[in-house]
């Protein structure tokens, strides 16, 4: 299997992780009163989960130099 296919599978996994993070029931867990550094819990959760997802994608996309297949 080529590097492209391996990485493709990891990207699919990241997408599935994102689907889980931004969906019921995880969203419902944070849909409660409370705040982190003054930011309501749900908003803080969504933005940090989003940032983590982007960081994962950046890491995966940049982890090797690309070669043309």
């Amino acid at each position: 299997m080529s590097d492209f296919e391996y990485r493709g599978q990891r990207f699919v996994a990241i997408c599935m992780l994102g689907v889980l993070l931004f969906n019921y029931p995880l969203l419902a867990l944070f849909n409660v009163r409370g705040a982190i550094f003054g930011v309501p819990l749900l908003y803080a959760y969504i933005f940090s989960a989003w940032a983590i997802l982007i960081a994962l994608m950046a890491w995966l996309a940049e982890s090797h130099t690309l070669e043309s297949r």
Binding site: F11, V12, I14, F22, A35
Partner: protein, 914 residues
């Protein structure tokens, strides 16, 4: 003061700056040094996704339901994670086939169907109109509010809707002129608009900076940071509920999920996203950067949406100010003139960016996939005979741009007032989501057919018209509102907002469920029921197997017929101008090592295919096919022939795999042979050494025999005693010679494998006592003390008894040889170690240096210095012994230290006693 003139002047100055950037980028591109060949500019150009909707509408949405604006950006992030798999494929397909628009992509996939391309174009244009009207509304509203400064007045309050609509008309016309200048200055074969991309990337920076500026001003200028802002908001009961918006304000999770799905589709299939991501892409490698830079951009532009929304709700608690305008009205209320102007420019850049790219993409579609196919089919126009059609193509595109913007304005006038910004945009999202099944199905599933795609698209689009567009028009008063409340003709089941009685969902979710059901169902069912034509089969394989094809000419192998190169050239020149045609032909010839036009080109399948692909870039794949077919004589392939070609291709792949395997095997065999050859050479060398050593060893006793015989012969008077002594030496040397020869024969027999071993049960106790007895004469002569210790009962070993005796004798004679006469002492110990026997033969001689312990088992090697020490034997004995022991599954080794004697040990496996 913010006079209208100041605002208008600033706006035009900004547009002028954009134009300058575009002009500069185009010049650089012409000079072959493109500024946009950069992954960051590519990523920023994708941010054309963030329009006035994002800039003004997100805050409006957030002010009403907290997080309802977020799926529009989280969805694309999730989709982009799949781009590695999906978008790379679309990019490769589009580059190979010179796809220049979404309509072209779909038409080309389903057998270069002009009908399908036309349908996609119609859907795209109608579907995008609400979205364009949204931009016009945003620009005219923001202008209107800003010009009232320092008062904050909503346009609706003072009954200015008609005037605002006039503003929108002006905006539409100005943008049309601007887009024409941007996008249709000349005809590019690959539909690249490098200047436009550079300008769009710049606009993305401007809108991001403007939005962040407002966000920072509201959060840290008006309030004391996020903490302060949110804690003040939580004191207001109405805002408290928005801290936990799900289930309450934001509606159900279903809506959240559907908005996410919708946005996932939008990021792929909005015509302008397809334009900047696929058509304007210069290098596939840029995608890797865009995969994270673009989502990061979306995150950044959304960070301050909630603070601005809460800030606005706190600042204007009475609800007199439309939340869609908070971004602008907050700085105005705080008397920040410059910031307000910056916001206006940011909103302008968000809206203009969208309008420019969207209308260029749509105009390409309208021209290539709607107008040209119709014109080319009208024989009366005699388009085929016109020498230069480039001006016509440009004129069609310019007309299309003006028309699309005017239609956008018309939609704004008809329906724009009834909805908030986001709601207008979502209607467009739902329209372009209809392309998802045919595109995604088309690149992964070969079974999709033209009829299936047509059915799916038509069904989905019809449902969209009925459930989204129709209600929008009805709510604006252009259709009787009873249509929504009672259904058409009073049929309750057909109410557009509760189709077939499905109720309790918001409008978008409801429309998406029904349209996707109709679309997917139609596409799959009809495709399965249908059998593809040759063209469809070929294109399906070109698209789905794009990564399996080599080179750019995957399609050429499907063409059979005759053509003439000058005809092809003229065809290309008519549509693209002779300069472009010249360079295309020159490149084609150069790639094959010819010079054109010095040598004429062979009009083979490859050239025909190349011309068709080039032409597809200018007029779309369906029209290109028609035009090429008009100048060449083509033999139509039937479905079986296409299948055959595809099968051949797959067989070639199989063959090449087999060939690779064969060559790998060959390589392995070669390596093996080389090793064998080296071994042979080594053996040859060893044989030479062996012969040399043997000869040397034989010569020593022979020399002494000859010398003594000579003496005896020459001196008959010799005393008897002397004579006997000499004769004894001769006898002894002959014996040594005989022994040596026997050993050499042994070695050669053993090594050649000719030795016949006779394995019988051997009693090692007997062997030891026999050999000690045989050697007793020697031991006595040298006064060597011998001690034997064996256990009572030992297991039997399976071996050749004569050979084992040979080994024992060799070890004993070696021991005797190295023992000092008189003080010598030899110890023989037999150990029975259950599965094998070990025999130790220990002497108290000088011992063997560690460096010699390994080599003494080699042929003709003896311990010590061969030049100075007197030789003690042939040097073959230990070698032969080790070979014998190893043959019977045992080991022979030595343990010794210099000065402490040596202990030779060998093992032999015992026979399992039955």
């Amino acid at each position: 003061m913010l006079h209208g003139s100041v605002i208008i002047f600033t706006s035009f100055a900004y547009l002028g700056l954009l134009f300058a950037i575009a002009y500069y980028a185009d010049k650089r591109a012409d000079a072959g040094r493109p500024v946009i060949a950069n992954p960051y500019i590519y990523s920023l150009s994708m941010a054309v996704y963030a329009t006035a909707w994002t800039f003004y509408g997100s805050v409006g949405r957030a002010a009403s339901d907290g997080i309802g604006f977020l799926p529009i950006y989280i969805g694309p992030t999730l989709m982009i994670a799949l781009w590695w798999v999906v978008m790379r494929k679309i990019l490769r397909i589009s580059k190979q086939n010179r796809i220049t628009s979404l309509a072209d992509f779909i038409a080309s996939r389903y057998g270069k169907s002009a009908l399908l391309g036309g349908l996609v174009t119609v859907i795209a244009v109608i579907g995008i109109l609400p979205y364009i009207s949204l931009q016009l509304k945003a620009i005219s509203t923001s202008y209107f509010i800003l010009v009232q400064y320092p008062a904050i007045v909503m346009p609706d309050e003072i009954g200015v809707a008609p005037i605002r609509q006039d503003t929108a008309l002006w905006v539409a016309l100005i943008l049309a002129a601007f887009t024409i200048a941007f996008g249709t200055r000349h005809l590019d074969a690959a539909e690249h608009h490098q200047g436009m991309v550079a300008a769009i990337a710049f606009e993305s920076m401007v809108k991001l900076l403007a939005f962040l500026a407002v966000g920072i001003f509201v959060t840290f200028g008006m309030y004391d940071g996020l903490d302060d802002l949110f804690s003040r908001a939580s004191l207001v009961p109405k805002l408290q509920a928005m801290m936990t918006p799900l289930e309450g304000v934001a509606g159900s999770y279903a809506e959240w999920v559907w908005l996410t799905v919708l946005s996932m589709m939008a990021i792929m299939f909005l015509p302008r996203q397809f334009q900047v991501t696929v058509v304007e892409n210069l290098d596939e490698k840029h995608l890797a950067k865009a995969i994270w830079v673009f989502p990061a951009y979306m995150l950044a532009i959304n960070i301050f949406v909630l603070p601005i929304a809460f800030g606005g709700l706190l600042r204007f608690p009475d609800g007199s100010v439309d939340a869609d305008t908070f971004v602008l009205t907050l700085p105005m209320a705080e008397k920040q003139e410059l910031l307000a102007l910056l916001v206006f420019i940011g909103g302008l850049s968000a809206a203009t960016g969208m309008v420019i790219v969207e209308t260029i993409a749509l105009s390409t579609m309208v021209c290539n996939d709607l107008v040209m196919p119709v014109l080319l089919r009208m024989r009366r126009l005699r388009l085929n005979e016109r020498p230069d059609l480039t001006r016509l193509l440009l004129a069609i595109r310019r007309g299309a741009i003006v028309l699309i913007l005017l239609l956008g304005y018309l939609y704004f006038k008809l329906a724009g007032e009834a909805y908030a910004l986001v709601a207008i945009g979502l209607i467009s999202f739902a329209a372009v989501a209809q392309f998802a099944p045919v595109v995604l199905g088309g690149i992964f599933w070969k079974g999709g057919t033209r009829s299936g795609a047509l059915c799916g698209l038509l069904a989905g689009f019809t449902v969209w018209l009925y459930t989204l567009l129709l209600p929008a028009l009805a709510r604006s008063g252009w259709l009787p509102i009873g249509l929504l409340e009672n259904g058409p003709f009073g049929i309750e089941l057909l109410k557009p907002l509760q189709l077939f009685g499905l109720s309790g969902l918001d409008q978008i979710t409801h429309a998406m469920i029904w349209s996707m059901l109709a679309n997917l169902g139609g596409y799959i069912a009809v495709s399965l029921a249908d059998s593809p034509t040759a063209d469809e089969h070929r294109q399906a394989s070109v698209f789905v197997d794009v990564f399996r094809q080599t080179g750019e000419t995957g399609g050429a192998r499907f063409w059979r017929g005759t053509a003439s190169a000058p005809d092809l050239y003229n065809l290309l020149a008519r549509f693209m101008g002779s300069a472009s045609a010249d360079s295309a032909f020159r490149e084609y010839a150069a790639a094959r090592g010819h010079r054109w036009p010095e040598t004429s080109l062979n009009a083979d399948a490859e050239l025909v295919h190349q011309v068709e692909v080039q032409l597809a870039g200018a007029i779309g794949s369906a029209s290109a096919r028609v035009m090429v077919a008009s100048v060449v004589k083509e033999e139509a392939l039937n479905i079986d022939e296409v299948r055959e070609i595809l099968d051949e291709a797959s067989q070639v792949v199989v063959y090449s795999h087999r060939l690779e395997q064969k060559s790998r095997e060959l390589e392995a065999a070669t390596t093996g042979l080389r090793a064998a050859n080296e071994r042979l050479q080594e053996l040859d060398r060893m044989k030479d050494d062996f012969v040399a050593t043997v000869t040397h060893e034989l010569r020593t006793p022979l020399t002494s025999i000859r010398a003594f015989t000579q003496i005896l012969h020459d001196d008959p008077e010799m005393e008897m005693e002397q004579r006997e002594r000499f004769l004894a030496i001769i006898a002894k040397e002959s014996e040594r010679l005989t022994r040596l020869i026997n050993q050499v024969l042994d070695v050669s027999r053993i090594e050649s494998g000719r030795e016949e071993w006779q394995a019988t049960s051997v009693d090692m106790k007997e062997v030891i006592s026999d050999t000690v007895t045989a050697m007793s004469q020697v031991f006595q002569e040298q006064k060597i003390e011998v001690q034997v210790s064996t256990p009572e009962k030992v297991g039997e070993v399976l071996a050749d008894v004569d050979r084992i005796i040979q080994v024992m004798l060799n070890l004993l004679s070696n021991a005797a040889k190295f023992c000092e006469a008189g003080t010598g002492r030899i110890e023989i110990v037999l150990h029975d170690l259950s599965d094998h026997l070990r025999i130790d033969v220990r002497d108290n001689g000088p011992g063997i240096a560690a460096s010699d312990q390994l080599v003494i088992f080699d042929k003709f090697r003896q311990a010590g210095n061969p030049l100075t020490d007197k030789p003690h034997g042939s040097g073959l004995g230990l070698h032969i012994s080790r070979t014998i022991v190893e043959h019977f599954g045992g080991r022979l080794w030595v343990e010794s230290r210099r000065g402490c004697g040596a202990c030779f040990s060998f093992t032999l496996p015992t026979r399992a006693i039955p």
